[in-house]
Symmetry: C2
Subunit: 235 residues, 2 copies
DNA sequence: TCAAAAGTGTTTGTGGTACACCCATGG
DNA sequence: CCATGGGTGTACCACAAACACTTTTGA
C-alpha cells in the first residue's frame, strides 16, 4: 500500500525544419542499456524544479536554446521563442530495464535558424529526419511517433507551425513548412487566402530577393499566439 | 545529477451525469495534510502496474466499476465500458507539503446507471456537481478545471459524450447530456440531424414510453468509437 | 528574352445556423 | 380534448476546394 520507489525523467522530442525536412534531435547513448542506440534527450527531474523547468533545462543543455519564461514577458525583439508543450507520460513497468522509470515526455519546436547550430558541435547529438529514424532506445520510437501525430494535429487548428520558422519568412517558405510537416501538397491560392484571412501574420514591408520575383517578408503577430478558437484554421 | 526520490501518484477525475447535472466523484480526506477537505480519488502507483492499470484500479476501488481491458475484446453485451484517458501530469515542487509528489492525472466517464450506486455506500466518497465544487486539497481544483475543459473540448470533435449515457437512450436524453456538459442550449433539429448524419448511433427498434409521445431508443455504434476525422462533429 | 518564383479571382459544393409547426400518447 | 414531450424541413450564408494565368526580377 505504501509507495514504491520510482524514478521520474523528462524526455523531450525536439523538432526543427532543416534541409527542407522535418528533423528530430537525437543523442547517441554512451552507456548501457541500449548503448550505441539513439535516444531522445532527457534526464532525471531534480529536487526543486518543476517538470516544465526540467524540460526547458534539457532543451537548453542539448541545443543551447533558452526558453524564456512567459511570466517575464516577451523575449527580446526578433527572438522567436521555442515552443514547449507536455506530450504524454509513459510509465509501463519494463520500459526501462534498470527498474521503474516513468517519463514525462515533452515536445518542442525550435525555429530554423537556431536549429542550425544546435547539436552540431562536437557532441553526440544529431538531427535526424523523421522520415527515416534509426533504431531507438527504450520506447522512444513510440514517443516520437506520438509527438509527430500531435504536431500534425495541432498544425490544423492552431498556430504552432510558425514556431518552426525564422522571425521573418515568406509565404512560400511557410507553405513549404506546412507541406513538409503534413506530408502533402497544398494549393497555393487557398493556402495564402486562409493564412491571410486568419490574421496571424502581417507584412514587414521588406522584400526578399531570390531566383525569381522578390517575395514579401511576413512576421508572426504576437497577439495571435493564443490558440485559435474553432474549426481548422489552416489547411 | 543523479536522481532524487520522488513519489508518483495517479489521481482520477471521475465524471457522471446525475440529477441532470454533471458531477465529479470526490473523497473526503481523513488525515493531514488537508484533513477534512475534498480531493479527487487517487493513490500511489504500485511496483508492477502500468499507469493505466493504476488508474483503472483507483476507479474500481472508488466506484466498483471495472474497466475492461480493450485487448480482451468488447465487454459483455449491454455493458457500457467506462472511458478513461490520461489528462496531464502535474509535478510542481510544493504541490504536496509532504514532499515531492508527481501525479499523473486521468479522467474517466462513467455511464449514468452505474454512477447511481457508485460512491453511495457508507464510504467517504460523494458526487459533487461541477457547478459548485467545495474547497479542494492540493492542486485538485486546478486538475478538475482542466479535466472539464478537456471534456467539453472533446465533446465537440469526438464521440466521448456517449460514454456518459446508458446503453440505450433517446435523442432528447443525448441532447440534454450535451447541453448539461457544454452549459448551453442547442437547437433540436440541428442537433438531431448532425448526430444522425454522423452515423455514430443506430435505432434499437424499441420505444420508451413517458409523459408524451414515446421516443425511439438508440444505441451507440461500436464501430464508431474511433475519433472522428475533421471538423466539429457535434454541436 | 528566358527561367524562376511570386502573386492573384472565380466558381461550385458542402456544411452550419436559424427558425415553427405537426404527431403520438396518457390522463 | 388537452398537456407533454417527440419528431420533422427549408432557406440563407460562410467557408472549403478546385482550378490557370500574369507579374517581377536576375541572369
Amino acid at each position: 500500500m505504501s509507495h514504491v520507489s520510482v524514478a521520474v525523467t523528462v524526455d523531450i522530442v525536439i523538432f526543427a525544419l532543416r534541409d527542407n525536412d522535418l528533423q528530430v534531435l537525437l543523442v547517441k547513448r554512451k552507456y548501457p542499456p541500449y548503448q550505441g542506440l539513439w535516444a531522445i534527450p532527457g534526464g532525471y527531474v531534480q529536487a526543486n524544479e518543476s517538470l516544465e523547468d526540467a524540460a526547458a533545462r534539457e532543451l537548453r543543455e542539448e541545443t543551447g536554446i533558452s526558453v524564456e519564461n512567459p511570466a517575464n514577458g516577451a523575449a527580446h525583439p526578433g527572438a522567436t521563442v521555442p515552443y514547449i508543450e507536455q506530450l504524454y507520460t509513459f510509465g509501463d513497468p519494463g520500459r526501462d530495464p534498470r527498474g521503474r522509470v516513468i517519463t514525462v515526455a515533452y515536445f518542442a519546436l525550435v525555429p530554423a535558424p537556431l536549429a542550425i547550430q544546435a547539436g552540431s558541435d562536437a557532441s553526440d547529438a544529431e538531427w535526424k529526419p523523421v522520415r527515416s529514424l534509426p533504431r531507438m532506445a527504450f520506447d522512444h520510437a513510440q514517443i516520437v511517433r506520438y509527438a509527430l501525430k500531435r504536431l500534425r494535429y495541432k498544425l490544423e487548428y492552431s498556430a504552432v507551425g510558425f514556431q518552426l520558422l525564422p522571425p521573418v519568412f515568406t509565404l512560400s517558405e511557410l507553405q513549404r513548412a506546412y507541406e513538409t510537416i503534413l506530408g502533402e501538397t497544398l494549393d497555393k491560392r487557398n493556402f495564402r487566402r486562409r493564412i491571410l484571412q486568419a490574421q496571424v501574420i502581417e507584412e514587414t514591408g521588406q522584400y526578399q530577393a531570390g531566383e525569381g520575383r522578390p517575395a514579401m517578408l511576413y512576421r508572426f503577430r504576437e497577439d495571435a499566439v493564443a490558440e485559435v478558437k474553432a474549426r481548422r484554421l489552416f489547411p
